[in-house]
């Protein structure tokens, strides 16, 4: 408190000399020592929506991995990223000491095989992105600035989707580069890797939407984590069980359609139809119609999630 007062009186005394870092327009200020330059107005450029949205996107993306936050919040994303990467490294090691001519685990199936880790990542890190702003009411400060609600939702959505794409894409890149070094056929590998990446984009968009919608429902982080975990893991388990039973019973239609109702199987069905990648599903969505429905439903989910978030924040900002 004393410091403030001292600072205050000093500034008052020094004010007439003005700022000495440039010639004083009133012709008084060429003294050599800056005691206190007082309040300076900002006369630089004020950047627009694009820059503002990008700033929020970058800080949010860093936030997903705990960068710029406490050491504790870096731990989980780091562990999960390592867990995603480890199998890729093991596979590369296996390829390089054996004579395999193709990847033992298809690019398109990597995220499916490790969907548990991806699910935990989404569940743990989406609340980090949105519940945090709601819980501490920082959201008020955002909306009192030239940041539109749609920009906020877009930045957060893009940040989580990008984080997931990194989480899934980096191991794929490791697989690809490792495969190249081990002398796997270039053309085919590149095509499959490309397909795997496109699939990863689809999955990232789907999971980011789902994670954010549930996380934005509640300012309570633990609650949000639990809901997202349940929705992802339970739906995945349930869908697979129903499909397996239906398959055994000979109901192939149901066995294929039921995959619509879990994000990871929806992704698998859509990418198999779109990119003709190897599939992990027991039964594919029935025919061309099934494939189209899976793709459209995936698009619908992403747009729907964005819409729900927008509605949610429209209410928030007015409150």
């Amino acid at each position: 408190m004393e410091v403030t007062r001292a600072d205050l009186s000093k500034e008052t005394l020094d004010k007439p000399t003005g700022n000495t870092s440039r010639p004083d327009s009133r012709g008084r200020g060429e003294s050599g020592v800056i005691h206190d330059i007082g309040y300076r107005h900002f006369t630089g450029e004020r950047l627009g929506r694009g820059y503002i949205t990008r700033s929020l996107y970058v800080s949010s993306l860093r936030g997903v991995f705990g960068l710029g936050r406490s050491g504790k919040s870096k731990l989980l994303p780091l562990l999960l990223s390592a867990a995603m990467l480890l199998p890729a490294l093991v596979i590369v090691a296996i390829i390089s000491i054996t004579n395999l001519t193709e990847q033992p685990l298809a690019y398109s199936q990597y995220a499916v095989a490790l969907q548990g880790i991806v699910a935990i990542f989404v569940a743990a890190q989406s609340p980090q992105l949105v519940s945090h702003d709601l819980r501490f009411r920082t959201i008020t400060l955002y909306f009192a600035r030239p940041l539109e609600r749609v920009d906020y939702v877009f930045a957060k959505y893009a940040a989580l989707a990008s984080a997931l794409l990194l989480l899934i894409g980096v191991p794929l890149l490791v697989l690809y580069l490792g495969g190249m070094l081990a002398g796997l056929p270039f053309g085919r590998q590149t095509a499959e890797f490309g397909g795997g990446l496109i699939g990863a984009v689809i999955l990232s968009l789907l999971l980011a939407g789902l994670g954010l919608v549930f996380a934005a429902l509640t300012p309570r982080r633990g609650f949000a984590v639990a809901i997202v975990i349940v929705v992802l893991l339970v739906s995945y388990g349930a869908v697979n069980i129903v499909s397996a039973v239906a398959y055994e019973e000979g109901n192939l239609e149901l066995a294929g359609w039921i995959y619509l109702f879990s994000p990871v199987t929806l992704y698998d069905g859509a990418q198999t139809f779109l990119l003709n990648t190897p599939s992990g599903l027991i039964q594919q969505p029935p025919g061309t119609l099934g494939g189209i429905v899976f793709c459209l439903f995936a698009v619908f989910c992403v747009i729907g999630a964005f819409g729900i978030l927008l509605t949610r924040y429209r209410r928030m900002a007015a409150a």
């Binding site: 410091v3 700033s55 800080s59």
Partner: protein
């Protein structure tokens, strides 16, 4: 390098002739309550106090001025821009300090203010410079490198103020900035607000439910009651009526202390009212405090209480326009 240093003398604020805030028959109805009722006010440069009890419509007015809530009817302009069509531009040139907590606990004050400056459109380098500047101006030094979670209420209020100033706004809207502060912190915050209006050349709209604290720093006071305009006038007119000290003294062995003191002070030309054992004394000037102290000592009395009165809104409802009396809290 976005910041071009510039010192503007306090007597030349950015906006000279444009009214900073104008509302025209502004009305906001919620399903169960009318928050603002046919409100027409005109706020100029400098510090303006917006006074009203809880629920008088202060926060609703701020939300409408920021373009975050639509008005039910009527209109408002901020810095000459219409709130319904130019919300984003207004928010680019206005700073807002909310009443409630709004700071993330796990980042440092510097990181938070830099981030908020960028969200207001300042390039990274400018944002860092502005954050350092504003944090220094609000009186946060080494603490600004520590996570906000460990701050006292007073420090948090300073960070909230700093983020509102980070982008060098032309107008700041401060919602109950003294809430939760102890008397010393309250004084510091009021000093800061006064400096923002005079030294920084930034217009201020500051709300409070206490008229007493706003009249100290405001050039103009607007009083709301139940969403309606009760009064809008220059502070001087309020001040004349409300600068009052409450004094309580011990008795001597043979005489009542308050009577002796009242007689002595009346001889000095001060205006005094009795309220039981309390004396309410109009403050003539800064000398009044010393005079009272010297008289108390001179008469051999013990000083139990010497307190500046804060007047509640209730006084303004009285037909005589707020003459203080002893019934109100001190």
């Amino acid at each position: 390098m976005g910041v071009v240093p510039e010192v503007r003398p306090p007597d030349s604020p950015i906006v000279d002739d444009v009214a900073v805030i104008e509302t025209d028959r502004l009305t906001k109805r919620f399903p169960s309550v009318t928050a603002l009722d046919d409100l027409t006010i005109d706020v100029g440069t400098g510090v303006t106090g917006l006074v009203g009890s809880n629920g008088a419509g202060k926060s609703t007015l701020i939300k409408i001025l920021l373009g975050l809530q639509p008005a039910t009817s009527g209109g408002a302009r901020v810095l000459g821009m219409d709130v319904t069509t130019h919300g984003s531009q207004i928010r680019g040139r206005v700073g807002y300090m909310p009443e409630h907590d709004c700071l993330p606990p796990d980042v440092t004050a510097t990181e938070h203010v830099v981030h908020m400056a960028r969200i207001s459109g300042l390039a990274p380098t400018s944002a860092r410079e502005r954050a350092a500047d504003t944090l220094r101006h609000v009186g946060l030094y080494e603490e600004r490198y520590r996570p906000i979670g460990g701050y006292s209420t007073g420090m948090k209020q300073r960070v909230k103020l700093a983020q509102a100033l980070a982008h060098d706004p032309q107008l700041v809207l401060l919602d109950e900035p003294t809430n939760g502060l102890d008397p010393a912190g309250r004084d510091d915050m009021l000093d800061l607000i006064s400096r923002i209006g005079s030294d920084f050349g930034i217009s201020v709209l500051v709300t409070s439910h206490l008229l007493g604290e706003l009249e100290r720093v405001s050039d103009h006071v607007v009083v709301l009651d139940g969403g309606r305009l009760l009064r809008s006038q220059a502070t001087r007119e309020f001040t004349r009526k409300t600068q009052v000290l409450s004094v309580e003294v011990t008795d001597t062995d043979d005489r009542r202390g308050d009577e002796v003191l009242a007689a002595a002070l009346a001889a000095d030309g001060l205006v005094i009212r009795h309220d039981g054992r309390l004396l309410h004394i109009d403050i003539a000037d800064d000398e009044t405090y010393d005079l009272i102290r010297d008289r108390v000592v001179g008469l051999g009395l013990g000083l139990v209480r010497l307190q500046q009165q804060r007047h509640h809104m209730a006084e303004l409802f009285r037909p005589d326009g707020g003459e203080p009396d002893g019934g109100d809290q001190g």
